[in-house]
Symmetry: C2
Subunit: 398 residues, 2 copies
């Protein structure tokens, strides 16, 4: 045994001495390291991904060469090590967090706004502004499998609010046409489309509730939201929260809030009020507003800790250095913090013990204990924006 | 580039020719493969773990030498590749699913009934029948860090219902003493204990709700259940469901159902009725029974699909070849299946598209599509019992 270990070490030393694997960069993680506690941060200006380790609260390394990463977003393959990065420039890149390598890359559109992955992990879909529609790729090779234009009355439409729903289907909204479509990709060569028309003007973003039951699209062109109950025998579009939106709008809107940031905790949803310094509380059985909570600015992301006990809120300019924490039992703000200038995103660890917050202009990520609000770590990052943990692989609509 | 690849290949061939790594078995998975879609099945008679790939719906391989695995259970480290196997014989084994290797193993008690891992992943706790109490280990090395006897009035007590709760705390029940204890392990050298006495006779199992809010212990010695609201400012024990238990008991009880199998979906919990051919429906706001569903036998595991839309039930002898599916919207049985004799366990893939069912006497695992109820795969396994997927790493109380 000793001699074979010696021989193994000697052979590896020999291989190293030969410069044998010089063209292959070192792995970011040793063999046997799992992917469950990893994640990435988008470094928009440098076009890099920082690979994050939420157990050690460290950066494992960087993956370079991702192009324009402003407003980039990420989804994960079922194994949690494979990440798909959707660049605003229309590039789709498949990377591996454990090896740190780019596995495949395709320039799939002129202007893209994110994507989704099918339940079985075999299909990646991108939603596009230019030329509109969605494209569906083989998740391993990024070979194009289906190109589904979003043309209504002869006019192409930009696509937003793309999300996976069970059985290898994708649901999305057509901004220009005011429709919601479901594409069934069980046979990628023959997508089956179900279309909902007349949903309202200019859907600008959408979400699927954590149980996959409701698809809800925000409307830029009018008040209220469009909702579909995907569990209904005959799904149809209903309008909810008629007062929600730009409406009378006593305040200018500095940034349209992300619907994907909606928090659903227990039987309540917590929504960013548009243009107001408020978070709305909605009963998701009746879809009626049941309360409002005054906050420090115009909310952008309103995110529930995984256990639903807290909701964390960040804000548009000029209050974008601040984060506030709402206790969902008392509906009061229990903590305010200033983790750094230009807070762009927040991501909870899977069991909710910590939240990772990116502060773009401060050039760092803060790791905060969600119980004591103590800062556990501050990690350098170049203009960090979105933070995406691999635990998203296990969730519908992420 | 070509020559360096050649040199790399040559050096690796040389290493292989030297038999350099002959003592190291091949990895179960290639470098770069993540752990998010893996799992294990306990093969009780052979003392092996089958390593499962839920994407390919295949076995990746086996890990041998685990000892007595009857009633064995598994928890996962934060990275999802490290699994801790608690054998009924008191052995605790740390294995790696990607390498297929045993990393550490310790004979920690004479008779053990499972364990838990701390939120930060650094501490593994085992609950013991013999000699009773819990032991806490360094999760990497399995070095003993804390030995916490469960002695009340001079008598040692068996420990059951151990679960992790936030902030590196563990909660558990003392079968013989009728108490619930919380051990705060933030400083493992100085555990801080909080004790709840007079909870009722003979707590035999317990669970934490998915949000980590409620700890609920079943009582073998009397009717009803003991509940603690861990979010309360001053947590205290309350008795709920006074009619739940052995009670008048018109039917013999063939197997005490697993409380850990309780399904919590939306605002309802679905419980195995003890001794009856029924599943109870309970409102978790009021903790009142709101319905009963007649089923094929005495339920053992009552488990919710991750989206809460379905609840799957298996049964004690003589109905242990059957599984039934309840639709939570209509509270009716929508499907019955017979996947094989002696169904012992069921585990859902993280997004709920499939369920994996072990049939001990049939010697196989069935992979079932939860929407079409089609059998997607049947995999051989030697007397399979518990199935544990790595997605448990992201959940409190698992």
């Amino acid at each position: 045994m000793t001699s074979s270990i010696f021989r193994c070490a000697a052979a590896l030393a020999l291989a190293a001495a030969l410069g044998a694997c010089a063209t292959t960069p070192a792995l970011l993680a040793p063999p046997g390291r799992g992917s469950g506690d990893l994640g990435v941060v988008i470094e928009r200006e440098s076009g890099t991904l920082g690979v994050l380790d939420t157990s050690a609260r460290q950066r494992l390394g960087s993956i370079e060469g991702l192009g324009d990463l402003s407003h980039a977003s990420v989804v994960y393959g079922r194994d949690g090590a494979t990440a798909y990065v959707f660049g605003r420039d229309g590039a789709l890149t498949e990377v591996n967090l454990l090896t740190g390598r780019i596995e495949a890359r395709v320039q799939q559109a002129g202007n893209s706004i994110g994507g989704a992955i099918s339940t079985d992990g075999t299909l990646v879909a991108a939603q596009n502004y230019q030329p509109g529609g969605i494209k569906v790729f083989n998740a391993r090779t990024l070979e194009l499998l289906a190109d589904i234009p979003a043309v209504v009355d002869g006019k192409p439409s930009r696509v937003v609010g793309l999300a996976d729903i069970p059985r290898n289907r994708f649901i999305y909204s057509l901004f220009d046409a005011g429709q919601i479509w479901i594409a069934d990709l069980n046979d990628p060569a023959h997508p089956v489309l179900t279309k909902f028309a007349g949903i309202g003007k200019q859907p600008y973003d959408a979400l699927v509730t954590p149980d996959g039951r409701y698809y809800i699209a925000g409307l830029f062109g009018e008040d209220g939201l469009a909702k579909i109950d995907l569990w209904a025998a005959q799904p149809k579009v209903e309008r909810i929260l008629p007062g929600y939106g730009r409406g009378e709008q006593p305040l200018p809107v500095f940034k349209m809030p992300h619907l994907r940031g909606w928090a659903v905790a227990g039987r309540r949803a917590y929504l960013p009020a548009i243009g107001h310094h408020e978070v709305l509380v909605v009963d998701i059985d009746t879809w009626q507003e049941v309360g409002r909570i005054a906050v420090a600015g115009q909310p952008v992301f309103v995110m529930a800790r995984p256990d639903g006990r807290q909701v964390w809120v960040n804000f548009a300019v000029p209050d974008y250095d601040t984060v506030q924490v709402i206790d969902t039992q008392t509906l009061t703000i229990v903590h305010s913090l200033k983790p750094g200038k230009a807070v762009l995103h927040m991501e909870f660890t899977p069991r909710g013990d910590a939240v990772w917050i990116s502060s773009r202009d401060a050039g760092h990520i803060s790791v905060i204990d969600t119980q004591s609000f103590e800062t556990l770590a501050v990690l350098p990052a170049q203009s960090p924006s979105g933070i995406f943990f691999t635990s998203r692989a296990a969730r519908t609509g992420f």
